[in-house]
């Protein structure tokens, strides 16, 4: 763990990203923006979920909350205010959600966060339709594209910076401990409840901020678009494929995916989604540590696996499987 090296790499990348709006085409900027958005989302997701191994599918909820806050308050609070509000409210919701569900583990937690996300989506949809009688919100006053870009870039840098710093801190170690063996961490004196809720809230704050920033890209937001569960799925996918427990994995995967997304999504959306699905399956099966854990040994391991697989097939016998 070389903090100085990581910080240097971060600032180099940030500088490069800063140059894009000036020299890049419309398409390049759009792609860079998507990339930064997912980099922020997946880095902040892995910050908590990667180390504690609590798989949260609630990202879409926080993103959507941020987007709605921004849409509703942009005129009164101004740009930075709206983003701050989005982050704050998302974090608040996360604290409530976390207090209620963070005592459950594994699949329960994942399914529950998914259920809560959908519940929030349907609740807001119903509110919009039955109470306010509208279907969505139109954003008529939007900041410049460059402002949005810089903000999202700032958030991305902040997310990765947070990752770098948290890893070294006691907080990060506590989370890793929870991920390794929660009961042992508790006996060793870690206040697991507090750590988990704080981590969850931190993730949510970033997601909310990004949602608030990205809402202006859409001129018109409705619950179906901003609470789209796919945002959460894609975040998790990217983090997992990149390597949820690593620092640079999510960023790496985010770059790959925004490339795929911008080139494939508008023309061949099914192919894009199928690729995502296939990549996820392959990565969980063959590369559970993610892209960032790819090493020379991994390739030799695969080669050996394939060889032994062939031998099996020819011999026609199955290996003994442990229960």
């Amino acid at each position: 763990m070389n903090t100085k090296r990581d910080l240097l790499v971060l600032f180099a990348l940030a500088g490069w990203a800063l140059a894009v709006p000036h020299y890049g085409s419309e398409f390049a900027v759009s792609m860079a923006l998507t990339c930064l958005m997912y980099a922020t989302l997946s880095s902040s997701w892995s910050l908590f979920c990667g180390s504690t191994r609590y798989l949260s599918l609630a990202t879409s909820a926080f993103f959507g909350i941020g987007a709605y806050c921004s849409a509703l308050s942009l005129e009164q609070l101004g740009w930075l205010g709206a983003i701050g509000l989005g982050a704050a409210i998302a974090a608040a919701v996360a604290v409530v959600m976390g207090a209620a569900v963070l005592h459950l583990r594994g699949t329960y937690f994942a399914v529950l966060t998914f259920g809560m996300t959908e519940l929030i989506r349907h609740a807001i949809t119903t509110w919009e339709k039955q109470v306010t009688g509208t279907v969505g919100r139109v954003l008529t006053v939007v900041p410049e594209r460059d402002t949005v870009y810089l903000t999202v870039l700032g958030l991305a840098v902040l997310a990765i910076l947070a990752s770098i710093l948290v890893r070294r801190s006691r907080f990060g170690l506590a989370m890793a401990g929870i991920g390794a063996d929660e009961q042992r961490a508790q006996t060793l004196g870690v206040n697991t409840r507090l750590v988990k809720i704080s981590g969850f809230a931190l993730t949510a704050a970033f997601a909310g901020a990004v949602g608030a920033a990205m809402s202006v890209r859409w001129t018109y937001i409705d619950p179906a678009t901003v609470f789209n569960p796919f945002i959460g799925f894609q975040t998790v996918l990217i983090a997992l494929i990149g390597g949820a427990a690593t620092l640079w994995g999510p960023l790496l995967a985010a770059v790959v995916f925004s490339l795929l997304a911008e080139t494939l999504r508008l023309q061949l959306p099914q192919l894009y989604m199928m690729t995502l699905g296939l990549l996820l399956i392959l990565s969980v099966l063959y590369l559970p540590g993610g892209l960032a854990s790819l090493r020379r040994e991994t390739f030799t391991m695969w080669r050996d696996d394939i060889r032994s697989g062939w031998r099996e097939l020819r011999a026609g016998k199955a290996k003994k499987v442990p229960a």
Binding site: K129, V135, G136, V138, T219
Partner: protein, 397 residues
């Protein structure tokens, strides 16, 4: 030295020589018209019946006559289109690209109130006039966007016409279902206002989500209450679902009204004899005017007898193209001038005279149509009617 002069002269002459063929070609430079439309997803039925075929027919007709008349010069139309997958985000991004980076000459709108609501601010931002034939929204009109024009009659005139007709026919009670989409919500609000003080009581009202699979419980409880009129503020898939399931549960009110989709040939195909007497949103058919008949025949000729234009939005779509064509012929491709032409004048179209007050078409009145012997006849108001109202729908067959 003379060699150099020759070279310089040749070099000087070259660009002119190159320019010459392009000067000739410039006369035929295409008019690029861009749009996104639903070819997959829940909006497809509507989009592929009411809207896209008209765009294609228009381009074909204009090009067959030598091209679109741009202030005297004929230029071929080049359609640049893509599938918006019934997804608002895809729609918005596509139009941003068409207007922002591709900078096409003209744009045509997408299908549906929702999508149009989403792209309307864009129309204004980039300064492209939109004449939308498949959008209904009072809120859109309230936004007072100078570049956006709604061709269809808005909720208030349509619901007023419906309620007037029901009142005149002696109906005393009604049950309503509405899709909880912008279309349904706005029509429902307008309906409630129209019903107030009309003497018709609302015995049940339920909203349902787009893509609902089963309306039979709702229809069953309505049957129980025995209203005179059933009013469905529905989209094509739900229009058909409601009709089929009403038959399934034996719900036979005197007046059965559904919305988008009743005007489609598809409705007649699916319901067959059961379509007789069903009321819906329609504003024209081949009998409305000579121009309407010509359009009907041309549509059937190009797309086949199995693909008639629908008796509501298709007509509005064609009318919008007629207005656009006239505008371009008069003022060319200056989009601000086109907008002013559309906003200011009175236009002759297959639907009659159309003129705009702000974004709203105030030339076409609210109408109600009814399926009679295989044709969707306009039955209200009497001034526009192509056939008289049959006041009792026979039981479902």
């Amino acid at each position: 030295m003379s060699t150099r002069r020759t070279v310089v002269q040749a070099l000087a002459a070259a660009p002119a020589a190159l320019a010459f063929p392009s000067l000739v070609r410039a006369q035929a430079a295409p008019v690029r018209v861009g749009y996104a439309i639903a070819r997959t997803g829940p909006w497809t039925t509507g989009a592929q019946v009411s809207q896209e075929p008209n765009y294609l027919l228009w381009a074909e007709q204009q090009n067959a006559a030598g091209g679109l008349n741009v202030k005297g010069t004929k230029r071929p139309i080049e359609l640049i289109s893509s599938d918006d997958q019934s997804n608002i985000e895809t729609c918005v991004r596509t139009y941003e690209k068409l207007m922002g980076s591709d900078k096409v000459d003209l744009v045509l709108p997408p299908w549906g109130s929702n999508a149009n609501f989403a792209v309307a601010p864009l129309a204004n931002r980039f300064g492209y006039p939109f004449l939308a034939p498949t959008a209904l929204s009072r809120r859109l009109i309230e936004m007072k966007l100078p570049y956006f024009f709604l061709m269809l009659q808005q909720p208030k005139p349509m619901m007023d016409a419906l309620v007037d007709m029901l009142k005149a026919s002696g109906a005393k009670s009604a049950a309503v279902i509405y899709v909880d989409d912008l279309f349904g919500l706005e029509n429902y609000a307008a309906l409630k206002v129209a019903l107030a003080g009309s003497g018709i009581s609302l015995v049940e009202d339920k909203s349902y989500p787009l893509g609902v699979k089963d309306l039979s419980p709702v229809l069953r409880s309505m049957k129980d209450k025995n209203p005179d009129a059933f009013i469905g503020l529905t989209y094509p898939p739900d229009t058909i679902l409601a009709s089929k399931q009403a038959k399934e549960v034996g719900f036979n009110p005197k007046f059965f009204y559904a919305s988008v989709g009743t005007a489609f040939q598809l409705y007649r195909n699916v319901m067959q004899a059961g379509a007789e007497g069903v009321l819906g949103m329609g504003s024209w058919n081949g009998k409305t005017s000579a121009g309407a008949k010509a359009y009907f025949d041309a549509h059937v000729k190009k797309f086949g007898a199995a693909k008639e234009p629908d008796r509501w939005a298709s007509g509005a779509a064609w009318a919008s193209l007629e207005i656009l064509t006239a505008a371009v012929a008069k003022v060319g491709l200056d989009r601000k001038a086109i907008r002013d032409y559309v906003a200011g004048g009175e236009h002759n179209t297959i639907l009659g005279k159309i003129k705009f007050a702000g974004s709203e078409n105030v030339g076409t009145p609210g109408t109600v149509s009814q399926w009679q012997k295989g044709e969707f006849e306009v039955v209200w108001p009497k001034a526009n009617a192509t056939a008289p109202l049959v006041p009792q729908k026979p039981a479902w067959v």
